[in-house]
Symmetry: C2
Subunit: 489 residues, 2 copies
């Protein structure tokens, strides 16, 4: 319960300042903890018998002093103790403006559709422990612990290169570099290839980590609509002709956030478009191995006879995202520059994880694990699609992916998925609204449901709750539309 | 007859790959013609003394690359030459110019003074293996393998923060972020704080990884002379007043490459200078724990009452550089931006290594290991100093560090350490010449000797060889001086 606060209406100090001082004291003496949510202005106004604007003014004052932070629709949260004044540098002036704050995810006991990551309950911890033991009992243990190469741990590189050749995604003239997952691959590519002002074509909506790393490099993002069949090829061609981009970045399988997959013919078309424009095509194949149903289409890299496509892959989605190991297959001159950039970024990728994941693959445990992940994924995808079908209000649209971790929902008008995050969270369910994925097209009804980390029961339960929240808001919104408008004052 | 093929069983490359490369070469240079039949796997296995499956794997690899075609029951046939050069993008035109190529390091059986890294023979592999087992048998194993936080693995962050507070290098208002070693810390700081054209003061000579990451961010480097007593404080003050830098980066203990250490009084002066200029002081404390003799001076962060100093530390030099785990202690607003940059760079640092290093510290094994490393380091430092004293030609100057991994040698004129690298390497010894460390001052006689990874015997042996090389070149150079100059044509 929020501690009692006593204000003195006879005092000279204005009430909002008395209130802000009282809350400051509660923070200072530890009775309000970091992260705690302050009561809603309406609620505290009722308790204290004050006007709501007085409460808002007090909160604004606390926020201006860096003691609380307000989040639209979620309330105000305690940031920490009042800082003792430090007399040195003015950091706020020295630092660039902060980026967008990602929304808080679910309450610990809630159901979170907010993170596109694998199911922890499927992690084969025993098999993983045995794998570590084998690596560290082997003859290469000391070499694994010693300084490594920016290109990656040589035995893992050779293994991945051989697998890539066998699969036909690496050709003569290609090379391979190990990165800290696909995120670092995107970062290194942006550093090496993107100069400020360069146009870069991406899917819209798209994963924020992809969007932000390109923006940070100074790219002018050109969003091209993407849905269940991946990026819109006609729109892609128009955008490429119009903007002459330096890069096109495509996630052809089970794209994040839409779950969409580009058909084989469209892959050929994308390749032809990139080639005609002389721009680099980056194939972000982070989810490709997670196909639960249907036939796979070839990787773009595989059908690219010229071999210029830059292919990004990772162990993070199939195995353990806590281990940051991905890789890039691309023409040698590019890989050489990526290795230079990697050297400057962090010398090299952690070798323990590289060696353990190699052994995990060579021992056949990766294959066993993959079979379990695919079986569970199919079940979870089915639960998600059925849950959307059965629980979400009529008029809702959603993608039906054949794999991956995400599906994309569009709520019927006038619902705004961003406005409903807080209410859903109070009911114990979280998701990411569309605005985190927008490039240039606004889609207020859009939201991402990440289903892979949840059991089918939780998926069904979570969607039932979301269905109730969305339906009741929809009913209210439709009722409001028919109410006479209030006077404008 | 099928041409002779020689494979190297000692090579790191697997035999099937060596074989496939050898055959590829035979196809490329025309010794195997299109349409020619490769020997049957059984036959070639017999000739080469290999397992038949090795031959099959090599053939499969060649087939996957489109160089041969297998026909069941008839054998494998050469399809043609390796593919003609690819006709797609002009990568050389798309890519920025390559950076400086680091010199080749030692021959495999040579003595390398070229890498500032710890001794592999001291790695406590058994203790490390037990530590891994404990982490993966513990209740947090699944959480370690799951997606983590850009700020670092929470239990490690808390441990490091507590240790930092205990030591007096973290104050109220400070926060901590885990990075992939100090290299990534420097990179994130450069991304967040350095804008193109900003002046940044660094020691001269300085570690190339530090120099390059700042240059990449667009910094104008201002080198200030550094020697056995660290950076020259008077020159620092003049440089700061003249260039108004955004950052000053100092390695106060056992600097790379000089091995120099800044005395306590000079640390206070550096702090005062940074403060007066309102610029950020970065304390790159990567070697501080490796003190073999003498009394430690306090960290600059410790004497900074305002708390603005940005402290960089790492496990890489004391423990295992193959595991990339370092950290930054700095004011909260900066750490918040570093976490944003880290999120974009690679989501977070590998959690397996973070969890294992935490357990390595908590179990007391780190302390035991540190004692061994310090004892061995003292012995190696002594061998290096005595070797320089006893073997290098008269007129050579060198620093006498009290810890770390490096000492700096200045050969007598007219010797150029860069010119002598190749000759020393032919004699089996390698080192890095001064030009890799230069900022603005040329020092042709300068070279870095990294001694920590070598046994005292190798250090003495290597210095004896270098002494012979340098002395004979010196004698020749002095003789040349007295020869009449040749006609200039």
């Amino acid at each position: 319960m929020f501690p009692a606060i006593h204000l003195d209406s006879a005092s000279e100090a204005p009430l909002y300042r008395q209130l802000s001082d009282a809350i400051k004291e509660l923070i200072g003496n530890g009775r309000l903890d970091k992260g705690e949510r302050l009561p809603a202005t309406r609620e505290l106004a009722g308790v204290l018998g004050l006007n709501r604007t007085t409460i808002s003014a007090a909160y604004a004052l606390l926020e201006s002093e860096g003691l609380v932070q307000g989040h639209v629709g979620r309330g105000s949260f305690v940031l920490g103790e009042p800082r003792p004044p430090r007399s040195g540098l003015d950091w706020e002036k020295l630092l660039p403006a902060p980026g967008p704050v990602p929304p808080a995810l679910a309450a610990p006991d809630g159901i979170s559709f907010a993170s596109s990551c694998p199911a922890e309950d499927l992690f084969p911890v025993d098999a993983f422990r045995r794998t570590c033991e084998e690596v560290l009992a082997g003859p290469d243990a000391s070499a694994v612990l010693q300084l490594g190469s920016p290109s990656g741990y040589a035995p893992l590189r050779h293994y991945l290169m051989d697998e890539s050749r066998r699969e036909g995604v690496a050709r003569t003239g290609d090379d391979l570099i190990v990165t800290n997952g696909c995120q670092q691959a995107l970062d290194l590519i942006a550093r090496v290839l993107v100069r400020p002002g360069d146009a870069v074509v991406v899917e819209d909506p798209v994963y924020p980590g992809l969007k932000n790393v390109l923006l940070q490099a100074g790219a002018q993002l050109v969003g091209v609509a993407a849905g269940v069949d991946g990026i819109d090829i006609d729109a892609l061609e128009r955008a490429v002709v119009r903007t002459r981009p330096r890069l096109i970045v495509i996630t052809p399988d089970f794209q994040n956030p839409t779950g969409g997959t580009l058909p084989a013919g469209a892959r050929r078309a994308a390749l032809r478009i990139a080639r005609a424009a002389g721009c680099v095509l980056v194939e972000n194949d982070i989810y490709g191995e997670l196909r639960y149903e249907g036939d796979p289409a070839p990787a773009i890299k595989q059908i690219d006879e010229a071999g210029d496509t830059v292919l990004l892959r990772s162990f993070s989605k199939l195995t353990f995202p806590g281990l940051r190991v991905g890789w890039v297959v691309a023409p040698e001159p590019l890989v050489a520059r990526l290795a230079e950039a990697k050297h400057m970024a962090d010398l090299h990728t952690d070798q323990l994880s590289q060696a353990v994941l190699l052994r995990f693959a060579l021992s056949g445990r990766l294959k066993e694990h993959r079979a379990r992940v695919l079986a569970a994924g199919a079940e979870r995808l089915r639960a998600a699609v059925e849950g959307c079908q059965g629980s979400l209000p009529a008029g809702t649209h959603f993608t039906r992916p054949q794999g991956g971790m995400n599906l994309w929902v569009r709520l019927p008008e006038p619902l705004d998925a961003g406005d409903l995050v807080a209410r859903a969270q109070r009911e114990g369910v979280s998701y990411l609204p569309g605005r985190y994925f927008e490039v240039s097209r606004r889609e207020p009804g859009g939201l991402r449901l990440s289903f892979a980390a949840l059991s089918p029961e939780k998926i069904r339960g979570g969607l039932a709750i979301l269905g109730r929240v969305f339906s009741s808001e929809l009913a209210r919104a439709r009722l409001d539309r028919h109410e006479p408008a209030p006077a404008v004052v």
